[in-house]
């Protein structure tokens, strides 16, 4: 069975500085990997997904993630944080079914 671990429950950055949200996964197959964002009191929205094509995946709002099979990682990055990026972020792994990480809360300071 697959699993996913988000290494930080909370990340705080200043506006305009880079964002790094870390995700490690385990899977017996070749998984698909997703990042979703959840703003307060809202449902989840897809940021980006990896499905065995290019290992560097570009998503919405300037986010991207790199699939590293040797490290079993799928970290989410953004060069410059914006106040509107403050939200909860979920890494998801999917092979036989979908498993969600526990989430990382991103705080952006002015």
């Amino acid at each position: 069975a697959q699993s996913v671990t988000q290494l930080d429950s909370h990340v705080s950055v200043s506006e305009g500085t880079p964002v790094l949200l870390r995700c490690n996964y385990s899977s017996s197959y070749s998984p698909s990997l997703f990042w979703y964002v959840q703003h307060p009191n809202k449902g989840l929205q897809l940021l980006l997904k990896y499905t065995s094509a290019a290992t560097l995946v570009k998503g919405i709002n300037g986010f991207e993630a790199e699939f590293k099979k040797s490290e079993t990682s799928f970290h989410l990055t953004k060069p410059s944080a914006h106040m509107s990026d403050a939200a909860e972020y979920f890494c998801v792994v999917s092979d036989t079914d979908m498993r969600f990480g526990a989430g990382t809360r991103l705080t952006v300071k002015p």
């Binding site: 997703f34 009191n41 449902g43 079914d97 979908m98 969600f100 526990a102």
Partner: protein, 113 residues
């Protein structure tokens, strides 16, 4: 398109009461899902459906039931509410299965006292 809609948005139940959480989608998606979200726990899959008339258990199905009589609707039933079912419930749908994007509803916040 309205996407995925859920009703109600909030509900308070007493222990032992029953209720149905409604979910509908207008995207003609075959797959539909119910999740619960507890603080610090991510989302856990309760039940899912791959098409009308077909449902299957997810990771945490105990205490819940579902039905899928139409492509559009996927209600979640709680028969005997317990405090452990206090959570935020999300319905989602996708065109196909696990390799495709899931579209989420806004959620139902349920409290059982």
């Amino acid at each position: 398109n309205a996407g995925v809609t859920q009703t109600p948005k909030f509900r308070i139940l007493k222990i032992g009461q029953s209720m149905t959480l409604q979910c509908a989608q207008d995207m003609n998606h075959n797959y539909m899902y119910w999740y619960r979200q507890d603080p610090g726990m991510g989302l856990k899959l309760i039940y899912y459906s791959v098409g009308a008339g077909i449902t299957d258990k997810g990771e945490v199905p105990n205490g819940y039931n579902v039905s899928r009589s139409t492509t559009e609707d996927f209600p979640l039933r709680l028969e005997l509410a317990a405090p452990s079912q206090t959570s935020v419930y999300f319905c989602a749908s996708s065109y196909q299965g696990d390799y495709n994007e899931q579209f989420f509803g806004p959620g139902t916040r349920l409290t059982v006292l």
